[in-house]
Structures are given as structure tokens and as C-alpha cells.
């Protein structure tokens, strides 16, 4: 055996100049204006949800009938609603429920969708044919209809909302994961795993899963935006978050009758808040997508 055959030195001539793949993603995220803007917006609402009640001028739930429907003023920046609650305070703390329900629903969708996607992508064949058709049928039903059925069956609660949105988004994530897995399973490292008699679970979760994380992360952030929107919609329709929560969708629902009377402030600020959070999450999703696909 000769010493000259031994590759000496660093693993590779330019190893130092290369970041790890995750380091590279982080690096490009931190340089992306899109991501940073979105992240700023989301962070603002997260802080409001966590600490908002300590710095708002009024208790979000305290009514003050005498001051009902007061227009925006120095006293009440965003005015007051029908029973005199401070709209500003309600908007600031109103992110709390939506920011628990929507992410939990998205996590449920991601976990269920990833498992399902790995399964059908890895086994293909008849499993894929049957499960994929069922998923497509499921995706064809609007979320609201599913929610209605679920609420009739399970009653209204945050858990119901999480389960309904999580399960209706799972097929979409499953489809994304499936197509990524179909490409991965053709790579030789999967054949190498078979040549070690690895079980299907090991191959799916230890070999393939780490390599399909990027598309899953992108899809998850995109879904989070939709989930926020879906939660707001369900709350507005009365199937979601229940009174007396200062939730935005719920507030819009109970006040939108007032717009006709010129009391726009009871609805506008809640609507803008929903919009800003959805835009923030979508900007984050765009940034994440860009970082993985550069």
C-alpha cells in the first residue's frame, strides 16, 4: 500500500468556502428582503399575541356601553364597538387564537400529509392509485362543507377547527411530498438501502425524508397562509373561534352589520390585521421558496 495514494489535506480543496446546505439557506434568507419583511410582520403579531395584553390601554373584553360605537379618537385610537369595547386593544390581542389554531392545523396537515406522501410515493402501484384518488376526491370538497359536517358531528371547538383544517390540507401536502419522493426513490442510495435489507420504514423516514424536507418546508409555509385565511373564514361564519374571544374573524362577523351605519372602524382594523398576517406569512413562504430554489 502506498502513501501517495492517500488523499491528504482537507476533505476537498475548497471545503472551507462551502457552507453546509442549511447554512446556505439561512444565509440567503437573511439577505432576502421578502423574507425579512414577512418575518417582521409575523413577528409583530406573535409578540402582540404573547405580550399584547400587558401594553394595551384597555381590557379587550371590558364593555363600556356609554362609549359604544365611538369613532377613532385620542382616547380610543381605533374607536369602540357596539358594547363600547376598545377596538385597538381587541385588534392587538385578537391574533392570539388565530396564531394558535392556524399553526397547529398546519402542523397537523404537514405531519399527516408527509406520512401519507412518503407512503404513496415510496410504494407507488396500487397503494398510490387508490390513495391518490381518495385524496383527490377529498380535495374536491370545499373546506367549509367539511367544517360544517365536522361541527355537526363534533360540536364547535378549537380542536374541531384544527382537525378540520389540518385534515383538509393534508392531501395537498401529501401530493407535494409524493412527487418529491417519486424522484428520490429512483436515486441509487435507495437501491443501496435495499441491498442492506433495510425495512420500508427505515428507507422512508431515515433515508428519504431528510432529502424531501425543503419542499415540505416551502409547502408548509404556503399552507400556513391559507390556514390563517381558513380559520378567519370559519370564525366569521360562526364555525370557528367562539365568543367572547376578540378574534378578528369573529369581530368582523359580529360587527359587519354596522358598516351600513357608517361605523367602519368596527370592521376595518380587524380586516386589515387578517390581511397583514396573511401577507406576512406569504412573504415568508416566498422567501423560503426562493432560498431553497436558488
Amino acid at each position: 500500500m502506498s502513501a501517495a495514494d492517500t488523499p491528504v489535506g482537507m476533505p476537498s480543496p475548497d471545503a472551507e468556502t462551502r457552507r453546509s446546505p442549511w447554512g446556505e439557506v439561512l444565509h440567503s434568507l437573511l439577505r432576502s428582503g421578502t423574507f425579512l419583511t414577512g418575518f417582521g410582520i409575523v413577528l409583530f403579531w406573535v409578540i402582540c399575541a404573547l405580550l399584547g395584553e400587558h401594553f394595551v390601554p384597555y381590557d379587550a373584553l371590558a364593555d363600556d356601553i356609554i362609549n359604544a360605537l365611538a369613532p377613532p379618537s385620542a382616547e380610543h385610537w381605533f374607536g369602540t364597538d357596539q358594547i363600547g369595547r376598545d377596538v385597538f386593544s381587541r385588534v392587538i390581542v385578537g391574533s392570539r387564537d388565530i396564531l394558535t389554531v392556524a399553526p397547529l392545523a398546519t402542523i397537523l396537515a404537514t405531519v399527516a400529509g408527509t406520512a401519507l406522501g412518503l407512503l404513496i410515493g415510496y410504494f407507488r402501484g396500487i397503494v398510490d392509485d387508490i390513495v391518490s384518488r381518495v385524496l383527490e376526491a377529498f380535495m374536491a370538497i370545499p373546506v367549509v362543507i367539511i367544517a360544517l359536517l365536522a361541527i355537526v358531528a363534533l360540536g364547535t371547538s378549537k380542536i374541531t377547527v384544527i382537525v378540520v383544517i389540518g385534515l383538509s390540507f393534508a392531501p395537498i401536502i401529501a401530493r407535494t411530498v409524493r412527487s418529491a419522493v417519486l424522484a428520490e426513490r429512483e436515486l441509487d442510495y435507495v437501491a443501496a438501502a435495499k441491498l442492506r435489507h433495510e425495512g420500508a420504514l427505515h428507507t422512508m423516514f431515515v433515508e428519504i425524508l431528510p432529502n424531501v424536507v425543503p419542499p415540505i418546508l416551502v409547502e408548509t409555509t404556503v399552507r400556513l397562509g391559507y390556514a390563517i385565511f381558513a380559520v378567519a373564514t370559519l370564525s366569521f361564519m360562526g364555525f370557528g373561534i367562539q365568543p367572547p374571544s376578540p378574534d378578528w374573524g369573529l369581530s368582523i362577523s359580529s360587527n359587519y352589520g354596522m358598516i351600513g351605519g357608517g361605523f367602519w372602524w368596527t370592521v376595518l382594523f380587524d380586516a386589515l390585521s387578517i390581511a397583514s398576517l396573511v401577507i406576512g406569512v406569504n412573504l415568508v413562504a416566498d422567501g423560503v421558496h426562493g432560498a431553497f430554489n436558488d
Binding site: 500500500m1 502506498s2 501517495a4 495514494d5 492517500t6 488523499p7 491528504v8 489535506g9 482537507m10 476533505p11 476537498s12 480543496p13 475548497d14 471545503a15 468556502t17 462551502r18 453546509s20 446546505p21 436515486l187 441509487d188 442510495y189 437501491a191 443501496a192 435495499k194 441491498l195 442492506r196 435489507h197 433495510e198 433515508e207 431528510p210 432529502n211
Partner: protein, 673 residues
């Protein structure tokens, strides 16, 4: 000659901006191509060959910039051209042909449309343009150009696509043709055709050629002059004959030594290698760029950058000791790498193996009636064009795809189950593989330690301390070190990744390792080290290899037996030396003749016409008769010949009797080693 030079690079320096810093890729390259001349540029990957080509037409990627020097095409300074003039220069005087013709052609436009477009740009339209397009296709020897005009790129074979790409490049009658690895992805037989075509066109057209290739033999056959690029510097230049026969730079000397030449075999000694690595791009180089890898280097080499010494006769060498370059000591001792295998009962016995796929309702026989046997410590080389069934055969052995009923695979006398899942643990670990592309074969999310430990655990049945100890041995046996364990595959170079893949295959003390083109993605210096490693492991562990490669020199170096496959059938099988030195099957003869050789000692040239027929619809009779240069008559079209024993252990599937083949092939295409 007072004529203007077709291309003149003066002190050309190019840098790529990586991580906020300009990194030098080309360093003061001077190069002149005269009108009508073919100039070859060689060097390992990362030397800057393609950057030269891209700079000429200012097609550098966005982070690349020309930091100094000048480029003149036909006497015009490319750097000073404005956007319009540059566009005209690209349209009218320079053309490029790239490595992958599939990517150069627009997949959604018919060939005719893509060709006529070029003439329309030049102001010719309608019937005149399509007449010209047909004339171009005729020029690149495409028979039936009218029907090719109607086809889409994916309906053409790789060789045809490259012909079309060349036709497109020639359509504007360029004065400068840049060919960047034009035959690298093609089969040897197709490569030979394309090279012949380029050679013929050179005689018919006046274009100057810049020919870029990592394949020294290809360049030596195609070019008048050659330049050797190392770390972005021209280190040697001269006429092709001089440079390859009498190299004056240690890098050229070392590169030439890495190739298994003249029928060299593993039991005749190791291949030489080049230690160390190419300096990374942008590295500051104080003295000679090659000094760290050069056994002749002295203190002077490390401190004083060598100028390009003029050696007379148009020869240049960037080496202080150019007169001593050829005395470069070997980096790897030549001591015998492998011992001849002992006479032992076969480790592998394959009888009547078949594999039929269904293709549009028709049976496609990917492997037909293949029988081979292999002894411990032997290597069976599988050769044949792509589509001949080599990889399918390997996958059948591994159990990744089940063969048809009827055939049998025996490992050490015991029947192997057709499916991997039904094979015992011992059988699974006994047959392993080294894949062609380590990027695909190694899980990019796992560290090298994880990859190898898992293999040792599953295949070696090891845990805890024993596993760690064995891991250490394994890593050292493929000449990696502890340092490599913590990293992910992407942090390693191609050669190091392939060592990891080899280590994984050897984790469970295999009896048979399938090597599927293990070196075709690697540079020659790395290839030599990997081949040495495989030969060393074989002689130490008595393991048998099934070695698949399109590079016949490499197959010959490592193999004891050769099976030549065509459309899933064995056309010839026998001891390596008998198959290579002949008499051989006409197909083997054609394959050997297609290999570009460094020493231009061509005697006979046999070219196969057309492409390998579809296995779904193989020709009747002898499957090779449609392309056979030695077809004898009707019998070839009606009756499939038997695989008949020609000499002891050497079988040939041909109607021509062995003695007759011997007579026909008298001026042998290859001399016995």
C-alpha cells in the same frame, strides 16, 4: 503567415465572484489559433477549459468577469464590441457545440424549424432556407434529411442530435468553431462517428477549431496543436505529436501516465497517479501551481513562478526543469497490484438468465439467455454500447429486479433467490455494488460516518466498540482518514465520494462487487487511483468484480474475463486477453476500433452505421447483422448463430468460423500486450 489569427487571447484573466471575493479562474492565458487550425485544450475538470470557451464569446456566467487581457476574433477585439456588434459576431463568426446535444436543441421545435431559423436570421427565407437546411444535414452525413427535418429532438439518438447540433453550428459558416466536450456523453461507437465527421468537415470547411476535452486520446486524434491547462494557466503547448510523445511539463507527463495504455493489466503493476488536489479557484499561487503535486519540485519551484519557457519548434513549457520533466518519479510504486486468481470452484455461476420487460404490450428482451461463471478474485468485464443490457444484467444479479423464470444464479454453489427480499442476510451482503454516480449513491443528508456505520451494522452485523474498530479499518482500507467521517458527501470531491461508496460495498466482506462505470464521472488522475484501489482490495480480499465500463482500456486493465453484450445477448465471452487480442467477434472488433488511441497507430477502421436496434424489435437471425461489417450473407439474416467455443474458454456467437475470423482480422486492430 500574415493572415489574421482566427483567435488570439492575450494575457486573458478571468475571475468568478464567489462569497463576495473575486477568485481567479484563468491567469494570463496566451493562446493563438491560426486560420484553419484545430487547437486542443486539455486538463482536468476545474482547470478552466470551459471558461476559455465562454470568454471568447463573452458568455460568462453573471458572477464571472474578464479581469485583464484581450480577446481577438479575426483580428477584432471582442472586449471592445458593443452589444450589437457582439451579437453579430456571435451570429456570424463563432459557433459553439456543447457536451449535451439534448440540452442544446429546443425540445418543442422540429429540427427543420431550428435549422431554418438560423438562415432566416441571415436573411434567407422560405424554400431557400429549407433547401439550405437540408444541405447542412447532408453535410453532417445525415441520411434522409427531409424526414429528420420533420422530427423533434427527442426522436433522434444522441449521435444524431449531436450531428444536428454541429449542422446548426456550421450553418452560419463560422470562422471559429468551439467544441466543448462534444463527444463526452456518447457511446464509443457514436463518439467515433462524430469524431470522424468533425475530421471530415475540417477538410471541407475553412473553420478554425477550438476543441476542449478531458480525453487526451480524442484530442490527439483531432488536433494540430494542443495546450495543457492547469489551475487556469497554460502549462504546456506544442504540436499534438510533440506534446503527447515528448511531454515537457510534469503535469502532462503525469496525466499521460494515469491512463492504462497498450493493454496494461492489473497483474502487470499499478497505474501511476497524481497525488493531492488541483488548487482551489482563486488560491494565491506563489511559485509553480503544480509544485505541491510534483515530485521534481524544488525550493525554486515553490517561490519563483516559472515563465513559459520557449523550447523551440513552437513548444512552450511552464516548468523550470522542463528538460527533466520526463524523469518525474512515479507517485505510486508500480509493484504488482494484483495476483493472478487461483484455480478455485466458481463463486458465481449464471445459467440461462433472461429478463423480459413489457414495452407497449410487446415483450422487450433486455437480457437473453446469458450464462457466465466467475471464480473468486476474478473480474468479469461487461462491455457493449448503452442499451446492450449490461446494467440490467447487474441488477438481476443484485436482485434489484427479478429475472424471468427458468434461469439460475448460483453463489458459491447455492441458488440465489430471484428477489432481494427472499435472499438470506449472508447472500445479500455477499453481492454488493459500486454505482456510477456517487452523488446519487450516497445519501446527501447523512454524514460519511452514518453511511458507513449503517452499512457495517446491517451488512457486518456489528455494534458498539467492534463497529468503531471495523469502521476505522474500513476507512483506512479505502485510504480515507478520520477527518472525512464527520462531513457530508457534498463536501468531498468526486474521487473521495467514490472511495466512500467502495467502502460501503466492502462493509460486509462481499464475495462479488458489481462496479457499474465507477470511474466514468472522474478525472483520469482520480480514475487511476480508484482502479488501483479496486485492484488492491481484490488481491487482498479475494473478491470478484463484475466490472461495467464503456472505456475498454479501463475494462482491459481490471478484467480477467470479458463478456461482450449486444441487445441483451452475449456475443463473445472469454479470457480478457483472448477477447482483446482476437480473433474476435465482428462487434468486438468494431468496438475496439472505435476507441480513440493516443498513439495514432491506426491500421483498420471499422465504423458501425446507425444505432443499436430496439430490444423490443430485434433483427431476425443474428441480431447484429444490420450493422455487421463482416456479414456473410442470407444465413446471417435468417438464423441466429450459436455461442460456439472457438478456443478453450473463448466463445463467439458468429456464423463465420473461427479460423476464417482469424484470417479476416489478420492485421490485428490491437496488438497483444
Amino acid at each position: 503567415m500574415t493572415d489574421k489569427n482566427a483567435l488570439e487571447l492575450k494575457d486573458l484573466s478571468v475571475a468568478y465572484r464567489v462569497g463576495g471575493r473575486n477568485r481567479a479562474v484563468l491567469r494570463n492565458v496566451n493562446l493563438t489559433i491560426k486560420p484553419g487550425e484545430a487547437y486542443g485544450l486539455v486538463g482536468e475538470s476545474g482547470c478552466g477549459k470551459s471558461t476559455v470557451a465562454l470568454s471568447v464569446v463573452r458568455y460568462l456566467p453573471r458572477n464571472g468577469s474578464i479581469t485583464g487581457g484581450s480577446i481577438a476574433l479575426d483580428g477584432k477585439d471582442v472586449m471592445k464590441l458593443d452589444a450589437e456588434a457582439l451579437r453579430r459576431a456571435r451570429a456570424e463568426s463563432v459557433s459553439m457545440v456543447y457536451q449535451d446535444p439534448g440540452k442544446a436543441l429546443n425540445p418543442s421545435l422540429r429540427i427543420g424549424r431550428q435549422l431554418t431559423e438560423i438562415f432566416e436570421l441571415a436573411g434567407v427565407s422560405g424554400q431557400a432556407a429549407s433547401d439550405k437546411a437540408i444541405a447542412m444535414l447532408n453535410l453532417v452525413r445525415i441520411s434522409d434529411p427531409a424526414s429528420v427535418m420533420q422530427r423533434y429532438p427527442h426522436q433522434l439518438s444522441g449521435g444524431m442530435q449531436q450531428r444536428v447540433a454541429i449542422a446548426m453550428a456550421l450553418a452560419n459558416d463560422p470562422s471559429m468553431l468551439i467544441l466543448d466536450e462534444p463527444t463526452t456523453g456518447l457511446d464509443a461507437t457514436v463518439e467515433a462517428e462524430v469524431l470522424d465527421l468533425i475530421g471530415q468537415l475540417r477538410r471541407e470547411l475553412s473553420a478554425s477549431i477550438l476543441f476542449i476535452s478531458h480525453n487526451l486520446a480524442v484530442v490527439s486524434n483531432m488536433c494540430d496543436r494542443v495546450g495543457v491547462l492547469y489551475a487556469g494557466m497554460l502549462v504546456e503547448e506544442g504540436s499534438t505529436k510533440d506534446v503527447f510523445n515528448d511531454p515537457r511539463h510534469p503535469y502532462t507527463v503525469a496525466l499521460l501516465r494515469c491512463l492504462p495504455r497498450g493493454g496494461q493489466r492489473k497483474d502487470q503493476g499499478r497505474l501511476d497517479t497524481i497525488p493531492g488536489f488541483l488548487p482551489g479557484i482563486g488560491t494565491n499561487i506563489a511559485g509553480c501551481a503544480f509544485a505541491d503535486r510534483c515530485a521534481l519540485a524544488t525550493e525554486r519551484c515553490r517561490s519563483e513562478p516559472p515563465p513559459l519557457y520557449e523550447l523551440g519548434g513552437g513548444r512552450l513549457s511552464r516548468c523550470h526543469y522542463h528538460d527533466k520533466a520526463q524523469s518525474l518519479p512515479r507517485a505510486t510504486p508500480a509493484e504488482i497490484a494484483a495476483i493472478a486468481p487461483k484455480q478455485a470452484p466458481p463463486v458465481l455461476q449464471v445459467e440461462g438468465l433472461n429478463k423480459t420487460y413489457a414495452s407497449h404490450g410487446r415483450p422487450l428482451r433486455a437480457v437473453k439467455d446469458v450464462s457466465v461463471s466467475l471464480r473468486p478474485g476474478e473480474t468479469l468485464g461487461l462491455v457493449g454500447e448503452s442499451g446492450s443490457g449490461k446494467t440490467t444484467f447487474a441488477r438481476l444479479l443484485l436482485g434489484l429486479v427479478p429475472p424471468d423464470e427458468g434461469g439460475s444464479i448460483e453463489l458459491e454453489g447455492k441458488q440465489l433467490a430471484p428477489r432481494l427480499a427472499s435472499r438470506s442476510e449472508d447472500q445479500v451482503k455477499a453481492v454488493q455494488i459500486v454505482f456510477q454516480n456517487p452523488d446519487s449513491a450516497l445519501n446527501r443528508s447523512h454524514s460519511i460516518r452514518h453511511i458507513l456505520s449503517r452499512a457495517l451494522k446491517r451488512l457486518g452485523g456489528l455494534t458498539g466498540k467492534t463497529l468503531d474498530r471495523r469502521l476505522d479499518e474500513l476507512v483506512r482500507s479505502v485510504r480515507l482518514t478520520d477527518r472525512h467521517l464527520g462531513v457530508k458527501p457534498r463536501q468531498l470531491s468526486g474521487g473521495l465520494k467514490q472511495r466512500v461508496a467502495i467502502a460501503r460495498a466492502f462493509a460486509g466482506d462481499p464475495r462479488i462487487v458489481v462496479c457499474d462505470e465507477p470511474t466514468s464521472a472522474l478525472d483520469v488522475s482520480v480514475q487511476a487511483a480508484i482502479l488501483n484501489l479496486l485492484a488492491d482490495l481484490q488481491s487482498k480480499q479475494d473478491v470478484s468484480y463484475i466490472f461495467i465500463s464503456h472505456d475498454l482500456g479501463v475494462v482491459r486493465y481490471l478484467s480477467d474475463k470479458i463478456a461482450v453484450l449486444y441487445l441483451g445477448r452475449i456475443m463473445e465471452f472469454g479470457p480478457s486477453e483472448a477477447v482483446f487480442s482476437g480473433p474476435h467477434h465482428p462487434y468486438t472488433e468494431a468496438l475496439l476500433s472505435a476507441v480513440p488511441k493516443l498513439d495514432r497507430t491506426e491500421t483498420s477502421r471499422i465504423r458501425l452505421d446507425g444505432e443499436i436496434p430496439s430490444a423490443a424489435n430485434p433483427p431476425k437471425g443474428c441480431v447484429f447483422h444490420t450493422r455487421c461489417p463482416r456479414k456473410i450473407g442470407a444465413i446471417c439474416e435468417t438464423q441466429e448463430p450459436e455461442l460456439a467455443e472457438a478456443e478453450s474458454g473463448h466463445t463467439i456467437r458468429c456464423h463465420i468460423p473461427f479460423a476464417e475470423l482469424a484470417r479476416l482480422q489478420k492485421p490485428k486492430t490491437m496488438q497483444p500486450a
